[in-house]
Subunit: 322 residues, 2 copies
């Protein structure tokens, strides 16, 4: 959680006047998102979210993200809908930063993941993949397999500080994945960061009430997104793999967008790649975050364990697939 | 800003079920208050604030604070109204901490203080003092003049690290105040922390839309509360004193609760006391806050300058009083 940029009452009043959304009645910094500053903005019309894009988001990519949310909302997906100003423009500036107002989504992120959450998120991910298929903009995945080697090179010397032998393990895994990556699988718009923080539910309901935080979305393999999700939702806090959760996730995904046999066969290697991607970014942040930072970096260890699990998997039946 | 305690979706759903306020539809940690953890809780009925009381609040004092908010709300003052559970109890427990749900107040804290804000806060403070007069509970001010010496003793050795000679200056001021404090002035319930963060306005409106954060409220001299407010609202960011703002604050206060001649005459010494109180607590926090704390302590210097200003004041005409 972090509010990096303070916005004055005068600034927000002036900013809101550029929209046709009524007048501000309340405005509070919220502990949501670690990359950007988010405010809950209540106007005389409705609640909204105001996001100020901080330095980790490339401003050149914002039209893709906002365009995607516009596209997905129009398709009926529950995601933040960018609100356009009176001049039709959604991406604006506030306090020297790119900024946008989006609709407010009801629901809460689950803290303790239940099997029914995995069913819901599987279906929602497939709906996202389907709804994004006719989106016309294109953004390559900056954190795809092509980007991992340079990321590793920039922090390899510190890898063994996290765990002895980690540098060697990552090097070998990277070589294996570069050799065997299934580049030819079905592609499209993926979320690429569909962790529980970014998925809202109503209490005791299976269906997802909304997806947020599309600021890692890009074009890549659909099934790689499934693998990211499986890593994020199907391991227990003690690092054990919960096959019931995986089965729920994959079967509810497949009901909306069936996985081909080639995709199923590729799941173990995609899951290894998804583990390595988060291991590498966490390692990078671990090494590079100053001790007095607003945000505590996440421990890379969790993803070492996930990678080891998938390295031992022989085929997708380990994930509950037939 | 800080969210010290994480509350799971399951915990909040269970907790809300103890009230008759509908079901949870959204729940977000907010950057409001530095002592406690606050959440904006949206139910099917209305928005509310959930507060978890962290270690700096004495649990024994919570019945006073919540009782006071109940009392003031019943008198028509715009302040958070404690919501009582189905069993009638407002002060409950959540995640191992005392916790309470209160009503949600509209409006925003002003960042750049305008003279009209000072008029509004003056009137609101007097309304608070009047409305509190028949409140039956009593809580002595733990940070009154009687508490300053022990506070100073606990951090005196580090005073000169902030500014050479500061220890001597504080010692002399403390002796002067102990000798001359006007203990016999009118007393009652005071807010004791009415800084701009704790006062909400609607854009471009003079009238206060709500007062929050009653967790320093206590029984003490009304006019001491006026002096705290004057310090918090009438100095410019460059430490200059804005007499127009003070005149607005004092004249709008007096329209609701007239200041006696004795109170007016005592304002300079009360303002010195109010400066010393915040100088001492900021010095204490400055010395005692670990470098990796979630909250950055406020610099004590600001209150050294305020104290110096009031030491040079001969009488209350310097504050714009006739």
């Amino acid at each position: 959680m972090a509010v990096y940029t303070d916005v004055s009452d005068e600034d927000i009043s002036r900013f809101v006047a550029e929209y046709d959304i009524g007048d501000v009645v309340s405005f509070k910094g919220i502990a949501e998102g670690v990359e950007n500053t988010n405010f809950l903005l209540q106007t005389t019309k409705a609640p909204y979210i105001l996001t100020l894009y901080e330095k980790r988001v490339n401003p050149d990519d914002l039209p893709f993200y906002l365009g995607l949310m516009d596209h997905l909302s129009a398709k009926g997906l529950n995601c933040p809908t960018p609100i356009h100003g009176k001049d039709g423009v959604a991406l604006r500036r506030l306090c020297g930063r790119p900024a946008a107002i989006t609709s407010f989504l009801q629901g809460m992120s689950p803290r303790r993941i239940q099997p029914h959450h995995c069913a819901g998120v599987g279906a929602a991910l497939a709906e996202l993949h389907s709804a994004g298929q006719d989106f016309e903009m294109h953004l390559p995945n900056a954190l795809s397999i092509k980007g991992w080697r340079s990321l590793f090179d920039s922090c390899a010397e510190h890898a063994d500080d996290v765990e002895p032998g980690l540098g060697k393990m990552i090097g070998e895994e990277l070589a294996f994945l570069e050799e065997n990556w299934p580049h030819a699988l079905p592609k499209g718009v993926i979320h690429a960061d569909l962790f529980p923080d970014n998925v809202f539910f109503f209490p005791n309901k299976e269906a997802v009430s909304g997806l947020i935080d599309f600021y890692f979305a890009c074009n890549d393999l659909f099934c790689y997104d499934v693998a990211i999700c499986m890593n994020a939702w199907c391991f227990e806090p003690d690092n054990s793999f919960n096959v019931t959760k995986a089965k729920n996730l994959l079967s509810h995904y497949s009901k909306v967008r069936p996985l081909s046999d080639v995709e199923k066969a590729a799941l173990p290697i995609l899951a290894r790649g998804a583990s390595l991607r988060f291991l590498l970014t966490r390692l990078y942040d671990w090494v590079n975050t100053p001790k007095d930072a607003l945000v505590t970096p996440k421990n890379p260890r969790e993803y070492i364990n996930k990678l080891r699990f998938h390295q031992r998997v022989e085929n997708a039946t380990a994930y509950g697939l037939d």
